[in-house]
């Protein structure tokens, strides 16, 4: 049955919990692969530090048990090499001026390029 009225936009309700009561996990910058082999317990920790033109790429890159790498900014892609992943990230970068964080100035306004600002420096009430 088609609804008679528009389906409600729930997230504008005061106190709305977007997680539906199941809090999200933090994004981890490292991957830990563990397994048992020949009676031994093995743990492999991997941390990628990617630097592009002298600037450290801030988002976490994960490696899975099968060795493929994954970045949440490319949600459907898991290449065999971090090199391939970074090449795609560079290919997709627009090179356009970086827009300002929303809420960094007057609420509800923006649109000027205030230059690069690290996400940890925001104080606009957005989640981090």
């Amino acid at each position: 049955m088609a609804p008679q009225n528009e389906i409600e936009v729930r997230f504008t309700r005061p106190g709305f919990d977007v997680t539906e009561g199941l809090p999200a996990e933090a994004h981890h910058h490292g991957s830990v692969r563990t397994f048992e082999y020949e009676g031994r317990h093995v743990s492999i920790e991997t941390h990628y530090r990617i630097v592009i033109d002298g600037v450290e790429f801030p988002d976490p890159i994960q490696v899975s048990d099968d060795g493929t790498v994954h970045y949440h900014g490319l949600p459907q892609y898991a290449p065999l090499s971090a090199v391939d992943l970074v090449k795609v990230i560079i290919d997709l970068a627009t090179g356009q001026p970086l827009p300002p964080p929303i809420g960094a100035g007057d609420p509800g306004h923006g649109g000027h390029d205030h230059g690069v600002q690290d996400r940890s420096s925001h104080d606009d009430g957005g989640g981090r």
Binding site: P3, E20, A24, H72, I90, L92, P100, G108
Partner: protein
């Protein structure tokens, strides 16, 4: 109840779908990017929103937002979030498509409208008529001609090497595609048959690395596309279309829903063949995978939440015209 038909063979459904998408992109909500940032941002780890906070979003934009937010909510497991990389992938997208279908029924004034599907295993050429301007529009470059050329989006997810990826709010623009650039092709009929023949819905640990006792990936993991890296099945369709179909805001492109409607059709074919089973149950053998369990609430920004158990049988909402898969 709507009937979901092939987008290439049902011109009436295709034309209505395209018209409805454009109508939703013109239906303004009164909600600004700054409000979204204020209300949702504090609840989402790693949230970063940039651009013009005064941008007012449309009803269509809310679907890109909903998808982006849901995939930003990580759960335990490899590549797992509240919509992907786990068992929840199929039920959550069923809920997501259902809400859009109901929105389209409303704006079109057609209570019996059913979302069309793109049978990409059958219709898989770069030069397919699907990409004509009078159908879904060009598959390379900005889609500015034909009916879809009138669709505008205001939220998207750029990647910048300096700050990573973020949700960007911008002035309205047309969608863009970049199809068939890489080495990946679209899934084949043999691929679909392999999916449907998988015996189990999913295996522990119910994430992108799910594997059964004999190494089989399970139906969900195979169909989602993690078992055949770098991208298979559903994932490969996103990567193949490219452009606005690539990032977390991929519902910006109407092709998103055509792809997922076909994925949902394959799930329905699998359940019709083998029974309406689901894992993880949340208790007992197989354990629990919070955010993916049979009775866990799914993330819903539009309408009330549902659980996977609620959507295992979609018969009260819609049916497919064709569930035959060549085996």
């Amino acid at each position: 109840m709507g009937t979901r038909r092939d987008v290439q063979t049902s011109q009436a459904d295709r034309d209505a779908y395209v018209r409805g998408c454009v109508l939703l992109s013109r239906e303004m909500t009164g909600i600004t990017a700054a409000q979204i940032n204020q209300q949702i941002g504090p609840q989402v780890p790693g949230w970063q929103m940039r651009g013009d906070g005064s941008v007012e979003v449309s009803r269509w934009d809310l679907y890109a937002l909903w998808h982006y937010v849901t995939m930003s909510l990580a759960t335990g497991g490899q590549r797992s979030n509240r919509a992907h990389g786990g068992s929840i992938f199929l039920p959550w997208h069923r809920l997501f498509l259902l809400r859009l279908e109901q929105d389209l029924q409303r704006v079109l004034g057609q209570p019996g409208f059913g979302l069309p599907y793109w049978d990409w295993a059958e219709d898989r050429d770069l030069g397919s008529t699907l990409w004509r301007a009078d159908r879904l529009g060009v598959n390379r470059g900005a889609v500015t001609a034909g009916p879809i050329g009138a669709l505008r989006i205001r939220l998207s997810q750029p990647i910048d090497p300096r700050v990573g990826s973020y949700l960007g709010a911008h002035q309205p623009r047309a969608i863009a595609r970049d199809a068939g650039r890489g080495t990946l092709g679209l899934p084949t009929k043999a691929d679909v048959a392999r999916c449907v023949l998988e015996a189990s819905y999913d295996h522990p640990p119910f994430d992108a690395g799910s594997q059964g006792p004999d190494g089989e990936p399970g139906f969900r993991n195979l169909l989602e596309g993690w078992a055949t890296p770098p991208a298979g099945f559903h994932n490969a369709v996103h990567v193949w279309v490219g452009g606005d179909m690539s990032p977390g805001t991929s519902p910006n492109d109407p092709v998103f829903f055509l792809n997922h409607c076909n994925v949902d059709r394959i799930w329905e074919a699998w359940m019709t063949r083998g029974g309406r089973t689901y894992r993880p149950l949340g208790t007992g053998p197989g354990g629990s995978h919070p955010g993916h369990n049979l009775h866990d609430p799914m993330v819903a920004l539009l309408g009330e939440t549902l659980t996977p158990a609620d959507v295992l049988d979609p018969g009260q909402w819609y049916a497919y015209d064709d569930l035959d898969v060549e085996l």
